[in-house]
């Protein structure tokens, strides 16, 4: 049960709490009313008892003086004769005690016979007899035993300063009870009515309050170690705490996705950097002896024998070594070797001319969109090489059409090439830029490697988006800070 209550949705908890709060309030208000009614009833009763007691005590002086027991009985019995009297204010028993504290007469002679000791018949009379014993005045005394259901009112019967006896009236609290039950019943009815009105309001209110929380909790539950694809959270937007929690959650979600992407990117970049370092090291180690070997062949050809068989062998060696040198050079992409003549619109257009024939040969449409109008402070040869590599790859992959866009903003130049060929599966993406890529179906597999190396050296970035029917490579190169001249 405890867990059930603890695990109950706020959707139900809030209305239940509203209802229980309303019930507690109603109970407290009713209880305070009942206490008040009890007090008032008791005070009314006492006032009534005291005024009636004074009258009776005065009237009893004569009969007591004349020892007229019957007359005394008639007097104390008179309040009981009236048919219309409010019975709730009527004493239960009225006794006249004589000077010795014995019953002189009582309204219940069978229970309290004449001359009997009231305390022996009913010990609760001890307190009132005690309380009135030492008194000479006419002032009434009221006592109520704790835990007793009766009130006792005692009035001394005094004539000319002489104590003749005591009038004792007992009242039950019994008549209070129907009054209390009536009030409690009405209060319960009103509480039920109020709860009936409050229930739909509380329900609506609970849903209004809990709804956003429930949605937020539902959304959070979907987040595991990874953010699932296509997660859609319809969160409540406001400036209160729930709205702020929702907004924070959305922000956190975005950052989580971004972080995962960055981690992936860093992984790829680091691997490529490691491969780059390795290949550059090997290339340097090969380049030095290679240069020496080619020089030796040159020298031998110039100054050595002219034996045709030897020359043929040397030439064979030279071609082989040259091929090795080319391959190593391709691995050793070094931007700084390049001249720094700025990039112009013509450089881009030249590239178009270079690939147009190839595209036409394969029946591929080339859509060209060159937005570069003025010169840019970027190494033209490298940019052209990047664009050429991208275009040649695209033409090889395309089915019907290749689209090229070159444009700039205030900080960067973007070269974007799209083709409509088979797309690159997600799992291949991390290996796309590795040298001698297994993904290259024709060519040596160094095109994208070179493109990547050049881009890195120019502090740029490559974005690849590949969906079925469309693959897009976009290289963004930052423009150096210094103002460019033509």
């Amino acid at each position: 049960m405890r867990y059930f209550v603890r695990d109950l949705s706020l959707r139900y908890k809030i209305p239940l709490r509203v209802l229980s709060l309303a019930s507690i309030t109603a109970i407290l208000v009713t209880a305070s009313i009942l206490f008040r009614v009890y007090d008032e009833t008791r005070n009314d009763l006492l006032r009534h008892a005291q005024s009636m007691g004074r009258v009776l005590a005065n009237t009893l002086v004569g009969p007591l003086t004349h020892d007229d027991a019957w007359r005394a009985f008639e007097i104390i019995n008179s309040p009981f004769q009236s048919e219309e009297a409010d019975r709730s204010e009527l004493a239960e028993t009225i006794l006249v005690l004589d000077g010795k504290g014995q019953v002189y007469v009582s309204t219940r002679p069978a229970q309290f016979p004449m001359l009997s000791d009231p305390v022996r018949l009913d010990p609760e009379f001890a307190a009132i007899r005690e309380a009135t014993a030492g008194r000479d005045g006419h002032n009434p005394v009221a006592t109520a035993q704790p835990g007793s259901s009766r009130l006792f009112v005692g009035i001394p019967i005094v004539s000319d300063g002489a104590r003749l006896g005591t009038l004792v009236m007992t009242y039950t609290k019994g008549p209070f009870i129907p009054r209390f039950i009536g009030i409690a019943q009405r209060a319960a009815l009103m509480t039920l009515l109020a709860l009936a009105v409050l229930l739909p309001i509380a329900w609506y209110w609970g849903n209004r309050m809990a709804g956003p929380l429930v949605r937020l909790a539902g959304c959070m539950d979907q987040i595991g170690p990874r953010v699932p694809e296509g997660l859609h959270c319809d969160l409540f937007e406001s400036n209160d705490e729930i709205g702020r929690a929702g907004a924070s959650f959305k922000r956190m979600l975005k950052e989580l996705v971004e972080k995962a992407r960055l981690e992936q990117e860093i992984l790829v970049t680091e691997r490529l950097a490691a491969v780059g370092r390795l290949s550059a090291g090997i290339a340097h180690e090969i380049n030095n002896p290679l240069g020496g070997m080619l020089n030796a062949i040159n020298t031998f050809k110039r100054h050595g024998s002219n034996d045709p068989r030897t020359l043929k062998t040397l030439s064979l060696l030279e071609r082989g070594l040259s091929q090795i040198k080319d391959t190593v050079a391709a691995l050793l992409v070094e931007a700084r070797l390049e001249s720094r003549h700025p990039l112009s619109r013509h450089d881009i257009e030249d590239t178009r001319t270079l690939v147009a024939a190839e595209a036409a040969g394969k029946g591929i449409g080339l859509v060209w969109d060159n937005h570069i109008a003025t010169g840019l402070p970027l190494p033209s040869t490298l940019v052209r090489q990047i664009l050429l590599n991208l275009l040649l790859n695209a033409i090889r992959a395309a089915e019907k059409q290749v689209e090229c866009q070159v444009y700039r903003d205030s900080r960067s130049l973007t070269l974007a090439v799209k083709n409509d060929g088979a797309h690159i599966p997600d799992e291949d993406m991390p290996y796309l830029f590795e040298p001698f890529s297994r993904l290259s179906r024709n060519g040596h597999g160094l095109g994208l490697w070179i493109t990547y190396q050049i881009t890195r050296q120019l502090n740029g970035g490559i974005l690849v988006e590949s969906d079925p029917g469309q693959t897009r490579f976009a290289v963004t190169l930052p423009l150096p800070e210094e103002p460019c001249t033509t």
Binding site: D67, D68, W70, F73, V105, P109, A110, P113, M114, L115
Partner: protein
């Protein structure tokens, strides 16, 4: 009972009407008739009907005078302040020289009645007066035969005196109230006029049902109507005639039936010999 508010004018008019009603004999001095609780003297409407009946028959105004005790009525009689009274036999024999026997009612066909000793109906153990030793006992009037004298006599027969025998006694000043006192068990026993008890039983059976008649006394002369000795003979005869004739007309019989009586007879002094003897013995008890 709700009575319409009585304005002063209304009240005066009512007074005038009631004064004018017996116009013919308004000048004649009223006949003052003392009543005691030897019968149910607290029925105002019956008393008024009886008063009007007597007024018409006597051809003179009749006024009822009621007092709380027999002694007061006897005093009024002996001081000539009333003409006649319905008294108990005991005060009659005590003040015989100053009173004259007018008429004796007939109860169950005889001018006789008994004293009843009653106890609460719930008390089934008490079998005789002697079982009431140390109890609270109710008398009606110290001048009553059935409600006091007879019990004194009965106790003196066994050598007891009321004040020693009972723990406490009190007077209710009416037979009816003795019955009530015993019914509510204020007293554990009471002495009451047998005629009053029987009449109550007839008209208010609920009260008598709460009491039990323990003993009945021998018969005594019924409480008589008496006049002061100074009452003129003509007036005495007229009053006796009217009372004795009550059984002769329907209106009178109706009133008698409400009194639970059969009529009136002139009666004889000898009827009260029993009471006089008892009174003598009680006076001489040790």
């Amino acid at each position: 009972m709700v009575t319409p508010p009585l304005t002063r004018r209304h009240f005066c008019a009512t007074l005038a009407l009631s004064a004018l009603a017996p116009r013919a004999f308004a000048e004649a001095p009223p006949l003052r008739l003392g009543l005691t609780p030897v019968f149910l003297d607290d029925q105002a409407s019956f008393l008024e009907a009886w008063r009007i009946y007597l007024t018409e028959r006597l051809q003179r105004p009749v006024v009822f005078v009621q007092r709380g005790s027999y002694r007061e009525i006897v005093e009024l009689l002996t001081q000539d302040r009333i003409e006649a009274a319905w008294l108990c036999g005991f005060p009659f024999v005590k003040n015989e020289r100053r009173l004259r026997l007018l008429a004796v009612p007939l109860f169950q066909g005889k001018p006789l009645y008994r004293s009843y000793l009653i106890v609460p109906a719930g008390d089934t153990r008490t079998e005789s007066l002697l079982d009431l030793r140390g109890k609270v006992f109710a008398y009606s009037d110290p001048d009553s035969n059935s409600g006091f004298l007879y019990t004194q006599h009965a106790l003196s027969q066994v050598g007891e005196r009321s004040e020693r025998f009972f723990a406490r006694t009190f007077f209710t000043w009416a037979h009816r109230k003795v019955v009530e006192a015993v019914a509510v068990e204020l007293a554990q026993g009471g002495a009451v006029d047998g005629y009053v008890w029987e009449t109550l039983k007839r008209f208010y059976p609920l009260v008598t049902a709460r009491t039990r008649v323990l003993e009945q006394s021998p018969e005594f002369g019924f409480p008589p109507f008496v006049t002061r000795v100074s009452l003129p003979e003509a007036e005495f005869a007229a009053l006796r005639q009217v009372l004795v004739a009550m059984g002769g007309d329907s209106e009178g019989r109706e009133l008698l039936s409400q009194l639970n009586l059969d009529g009136f007879v002139p009666g004889e002094r000898a009827l009260f010999d029993g009471i006089a003897q008892m009174a003598g013995r009680v006076e001489k008890r040790p």
